[in-house]
């Protein structure tokens, strides 16, 4: 058994940069490279797209780019890959990888796909209550497009135990992607909550990529970071006892400090003493975070409690549309013109009988980002964009927003700046609801293919 396992992050979200992953694969001396590419609505959005676009096979749209960037180095160094790029079709992701491997002349490489997360057809009989509003899940029957369970690390461990070199999953909890290799390498049992809590905490620190190495962090004069245009992705050097050192490649930009690790430790966490994952409930309030060298932070002492008997289910529903557009004012009196423009729009929406569940008009430059939290003392800006958005039940209603902004050209206020409408001003709303399902009602399956 190895004393130390080196795990790197290949992506922290779907749109993440690709070259830092290639650098890690080449120079990181990694045992594992893990890719996280999903947001809450990824599965539902993929379902919608697959229905409309037969050429969309259902895996990460950057799958080929990412694999081409890292495969040669991973093959050379024996680095295994664990990835949730399977989205709604892990088998297709695996097939793509096999094709690319054969192209590279690599034979005998085992690629696994893990299915079982999608439970759209069964979800209403397996679940009772929507966590967000307390209503029965039955109320979603009409609008439901997809339901997926957040699987844990166990099926990935199974795949690795069967000899997989590359594993593609659909929805699994993000930290589980990183925990699974540790369970496999160190022989941690699925019920060994003490070790699993530490491994999950490591996964949580790695799952957003550069967010632990200086990304989403820079604030000049307060939190300065070396070369923020060239952030290295993180590496965890994990010991058998579950402690680790978070680091990055020498020579890359960014930083790993107590501050970057602390910020990421609580990212998207609610109760820090009870962070629920499918594998274990993590307690971050016992963590010890220490700087042990330049860009090296040791994390130990994370504790945990046994996993819950239920798994989280995410349900995506078609809920309507958002229409959105903006136009501009500048110079002396920009705000007074923006204010009368807002009045004009609201009156126009009455005239054209806009049926909206919600309408929001912001002054971008003054209050669009912090909304009601904008201080009353905020100074009047030199330039303002008036941005309007409305949520509606039908596309036809949502289109009225852009049509009324069009009207602000020749029929609008003095000195109105406008852009050519070059983009789709209507987007679909896929609402996400959560519920719980009994653990024993969901069965994951592992399929292996060899290149």
């Amino acid at each position: 058994m190895k004393q130390i396992i080196r795990i790197g992050t290949g992506s922290g979200w779907w749109g993440d940069r690709i070259s830092p992953a290639a650098e890690l694969a080449k120079h990181g001396q990694l045992d594992y490279l893990c890719f996280e590419t999903m947001a809450e609505a990824t599965i539902s959005a993929a379902q919608v797209r697959a229905r409309r676009d037969p050429s969309f096979v259902g895996h990460d749209t950057y799958l080929e780019d990412r694999l081409r960037a890292v495969l040669p180095a991973c093959l050379e160094h024996g680095t295994k890959i664990v990835s949730n790029q399977g989205w709604i079709n892990p088998d297709a992701a695996a097939a793509k990888a096999v094709t690319l491997l054969r192209e590279l002349g690599a034979t005998g490489v085992k690629v696994a796909s893990i299915n079982g997360s999608l439970i759209t057809e069964r979800v209403l009989s397996l679940t009772d209550t929507i966590l967000d509003n307390g209503e029965p899940t039955e109320t979603l029957a009409e609008t439901l497009i997809s339901a997926e369970v957040y699987l844990g690390a166990e099926p990935i461990v199974q795949a690795l135990a069967q000899g997989a070199d590359i594993v593609f999953t659909g929805r699994v909890a993000d930290p589980s992607l990183f925990l699974a290799p540790l369970m496999y390498e160190f022989g941690w049992d699925a019920l060994d909550h003490a070790h699993l809590a530490q491994g999950s905490a490591i996964g949580h620190l790695l799952e957003c990529g550069a967010q632990v190495t200086g990304g989403y962090f820079v604030d000049p004069g307060f939190k300065d970071v070396d070369r923020p245009w060239d952030l290295g992705f993180p590496i965890a050097e994990v010991s058998q006892d579950g402690s680790c050192v978070i680091s990055k490649l020498a020579g890359t930009g960014g930083c790993v400090t107590r501050q970057t690790v602390k910020e990421q430790m609580l990212y998207e966490v609610h109760d820090p003493a009870n962070y629920l994952t499918p594998d274990v409930t993590v307690d971050f309030t016992t963590a010890i975070v220490e700087e042990v060298g330049a860009d090296r932070v040791r994390v130990s002492g994370v504790t945990g409690k046994p996993r819950s008997p239920t798994l989280k289910v995410s349900m995506g529903c078609i809920e309507g549309f958002v229409g959105e557009d903006m136009f501009f004012y500048a110079g002396p009196g920009a705000l007074r013109r923006a204010e009368i423009a807002k009045t004009v729009l609201l009156e126009r929406f009455k005239i054209v009988d806009l049926k909206a569940d919600d309408v929001r008009i912001d002054y971008l430059g003054l209050n669009a980002i912090h909304g009601f939290a904008t201080p009353d003392s905020a100074p009047e800006p030199y330039e303002i964009a008036v941005r309007v958005a409305a949520r509606t039940r039908s596309r036809e209603q949502a289109e009225k927003v852009g049509r009324e902004v069009d009207g602000m050209a020749v029929s609008g206020i003095a000195h109105t700046g406008k852009r050519v409408p070059f983009q789709d001003r209507v987007r679909e709303v896929i609402g996400i609801w959560s519920s719980l399902v009994a653990r024993d009602r969901v069965q994951a399956t592992v399929t292996l293919t060899e290149s």
């Binding site: 609505a41 501050q259 609580l266 998207e268 609610h270 980002i369 909304g371 009601f372």
Partner: protein, 121 residues
């Protein structure tokens, strides 16, 4: 003296459903007690005015000198439904950097960033 929070703490926000968590981290352990006393959940919610429609819960994470503020109803119904330009509320955390705190004058040299712009001594 009165200063804004940015001189003693750094912050990060994250999204889950219709809830935003805004974590506040003291730059130094001695700043932590000031945050505990002055940055209560009630004041936090008042500071964000109508931007947080639900309850705010403050979790203490003393081992990393942090408070985690869990703000329900801060994301316009959730990322996809949210009519805000910043659908994820990724920039929501920066508002609290302007929260005013009273700190001892002798901390002046330990505070982060340039004080001139924001101090109100």
């Amino acid at each position: 003296m009165k200063i804004t929070l940015q001189h003693v703490a750094h912050v990060r926000s994250g999204d889950k459903g219709n809830t935003s968590n805004i974590a506040v981290f003291a730059y130094e352990p001695k700043f932590y007690d000031v945050l505990r006393e002055q940055l209560t959940a009630e004041r936090f919610k008042v500071f964000y005015q109508g931007a947080i429609t639900g309850p705010v819960t403050r979790f203490e994470v003393a081992n990393i000198e942090a408070f985690n503020f869990v703000c329900e109803g801060a994301l316009g119904g959730g990322v996809s439904r949210n009519l805000a330009l910043d659908n994820y509320g990724k920039a929501l955390s920066s508002a609290i950097l302007g929260f005013e705190l009273e700190v001892p004058d002798e901390w002046r040299d330990d505070l982060r960033g340039e004080l001139r712009a924001t101090s109100k001594t």
